[in-house]
């Protein structure tokens, strides 16, 4: 079976093309560096089966980051190279094409974003281009799913080009190719380009950032709340709960009934697999998950993230990082797992470590946020705001110190390319949302089941009461929390939303709630993100990061306890 490699610059639409060809759903977005790993798929065209591989984009064959290494290795392994080019940015794309030609492998050039060339006033003579490059050139619009069959048909015509490029000659060759195939028409700025200019303006950038942040918060909050109140809560209490109670009550074993339904009628306190588990995952967290990724998906596809990265560059410089690190941190608002994975596109280890620490500490993941907000609002908005304020301050403080103390290395320079601003199509947005929702439920349901089972077993063999006794004094003295928080701390390792939800059963006051939340957010990563972190940075580095953050957590929560005690006197 022939192996086809999708090769090209970052953000030319390789992943979207891959998912159009193979019908495998992958999350795509409009910024350079969305893809950090390889994805393999198969497709059948006229009876011949092909394997097709998608990987990170590269600018050249120089290997600076882990993603560069992955991409270069892939290209070396392929039988056929499918070079994806941004048709609106021919000059730069051809530079990589000429380098790819030197590999002397059968190749096809795919001009993507063909739909965009029209309103950008670009005309390209593809026949001449194909003749000059001496390989087939096909035009495609992956976004609108146009031209894919033609592209697949051209694969069997893939050929080794006879074009020879002398070293140092490539820009002259590109110049002469451009002269022969491309004409640019002058045209006026479109509305989207004006918006883009505004986003990159020194003042406009900050105005946009504040506007986007506030509107995201408002949309997520009100749409999330609305969904809970009018859709999920009624569904749970009127349909699901009576139904499930009715069925389970026929099971003759008390033990199994207890495991499945728990021991309280309040779904937040019962801690049964099918009551609390489903209630937290579906009613409390999912509505926020849905609205957050709806808004975030739009921002990703609009091309806003790299523009925000520029505005945040100064702040990140103070932490020894540069603006591009803000993209992993922003991904961490949703879930830490993709956030840690995207640190791969950063070039040196120092940056990766500092970024990982920031992802870890700055904000809780979305699931946990949803629970903190919905429970915190019982104490008032000030409580919620103080939790986030304390977390942000701790994260920035710790990172600032880490930057000062961590072994000096050169901070690499900031560089980012701006994708054109695009209005995403509805189909792209819903496809992406669907993939994320499936991943969410595939992860959350087993984890909650395991969590409930484990807690019940530990309880039955008296491990929980042992730990509770063990931490009674330190937790009481240092944090001012009841010792019953022990099982919650353990559960925090499995599901960070469920652990916060269980705080309800402790009847904490507002101060204790703040301390408990800060502790749960910072102290331990969830098991999925821990393994991702180890995979990306190695066990030793991960352990070091973990220790630094854990000590910072103890210090900050103890300080909080001290301050709050003084307040209360």
């Amino acid at each position: 079976m022939k192996k086809i490699i999708l090769a090209g610059n970052p953000n030319v639409g390789k992943s979207l093309l891959f998912s159009r060809i193979t019908r495998i759903g992958i999350v795509t977005a409009n910024y350079a560096g969305t893809t950090v790993e390889t994805k393999v798929g198969k497709f059948n065209f006229q009876g011949i089966e092909y394997e097709i591989v998608d990987g990170p984009g590269i600018y050249s064959f120089d290997e600076y980051s882990e993603t560069d290494q992955i991409a270069v290795k892939l290209i070396n392994e392929g039988d056929i190279i499918l070079n994806v080019i941004d048709a609106t940015n021919l000059e730069r794309s051809l530079n990589l094409t000429l380098q790819l030609l030197k590999m002397k492998k059968p190749m096809v050039v795919c001009l993507n974003f063909w739909d965009d060339t029209v309103h950008k006033g670009i005309t390209i003579n593809t026949q001449t281009l194909g003749m000059l490059l001496d390989i087939p050139v096909i035009t495609v619009s992956a976004l609108y799913d146009e031209g894919i069959p033609k592209l697949l048909a051209s694969i069997e015509n893939a050929k080794v080009s006879s074009l020879a490029v002398e070293p140092g000659e490539q820009w002259n060759i590109i110049g002469s190719i451009l002269c022969q195939v491309q004409t640019l028409k002058h045209r006026h700025h479109t509305l989207l380009e004006r918006i883009s200019d505004f986003m990159l303006h020194p003042v406009g950038g900050i105005v946009t950032a504040v506007f986007v942040l506030l509107s995201t918060l408002l949309i997520v909050r009100y749409m999330g709340e609305g969904l809970i109140k009018f859709v999920f809560e009624p569904f749970y209490s009127q349909l699901y709960n009576p139904f499930i109670q009715g069925i389970i009550s026929h099971i003759p074993s008390d033990l199994i009934q207890g495991l499945l339904l728990g021991h309280s009628s309040d779904p937040l306190e019962s801690f049964g697999m099918l009551t609390s588990g489903v209630y937290i995952a579906l009613v409390q967290v999912f509505p926020y998950f849905f609205t957050f990724y709806f808004v975030f998906g739009f921002l990703e596809d609009f091309g806003y993230l790299p523009r925000l990265a520029v505005v945040l560059d100064r702040l990140f410089h103070k932490l020894g990082l540069h603006g591009y690190s803000s993209i992993p941190v922003m991904l961490g608002l949703g879930c830490k797992v993709p956030a840690f994975m995207s640190t791969r596109s950063l070039t040196n280890k120092r940056e990766k470590v500092l970024t990982a620490a920031l992802i870890f500490m700055s904000v809780p993941c979305l699931s946990q946020s949803a629970m903190i907000v919905s429970l915190g609002m019982r104490y008032g908005v000030l409580t919620v705001l103080s939790i986030y304020g304390i977390l942000a301050a701790t994260a920035i403080g710790t990172n600032f110190l880490m930057n000062k103390l961590y072994k000096k290395g050169e901070t690499s320079e900031f560089f980012t390319e701006f994708p054109s601003c695009r209005l995403p199509t509805f189909r792209i947005l819903t496809d992406k949302l669907r993939i994320r929702i499936v991943e969410y439920f595939a992860e959350v349901l087993p984890m909650i089941a395991v969590g409930v089972l484990l807690m019940n077993i530990l309880n039955a063999i008296h491990v929980l009461s042992f730990i509770t006794d063990l931490i009674r004094k330190p937790v009481g003295w240092l944090l001012g929390l009841p010792p019953d928080i022990a099982p919650i701390m353990l559960l925090n390792f499995l599901r960070k939303d469920a652990s916060v939800a269980l705080l309800v059963s402790l009847n904490l006051d507002a101060y204790q709630f703040i301390i408990a939340c800060v502790f749960l957010v910072l102290s331990t990563p969830c098991i999925a993100s821990l393994f991702t972190l180890i995979k990306e940075l190695g066990a030793r580095t991960s352990l070091k990061i973990f220790c630094v953050i854990f000590s910072a957590t103890i210090v900050i929560t103890t300080l909080l306890h001290l301050v709050f005690s003084i307040f209360q006197l």
Partner: protein, 99 residues
Amino acid sequence: MFFRRFTFHKKRIRNPGNRIDITQLTSGESAKVVELNDDGEIISKLEAMGLIPGAVITKKSALPSKGPVILEKDRVQFAIGYDMAQRIIVEPVMFGTVL
């Protein structure tokens, strides 16, 4: 006084043909790249984008207090860090003189 020291070099009047670095360009000004005083990752990325001696770029905008500089070359926009921008030497051009 402090303020004046920072802004001093930007106020300097200069003629086309003067060699300056990118941070000294004003927003909206175009210039021809003369040399790139560095080697390494960013340079190789910039070169891959066609930012080589002889290329004409336009400075679109610059973030305050030594923030990133936003450049445009052949309808493609990108940002580079301030330190990097200082190492790219250009000659300002008036429209029509080079294009």
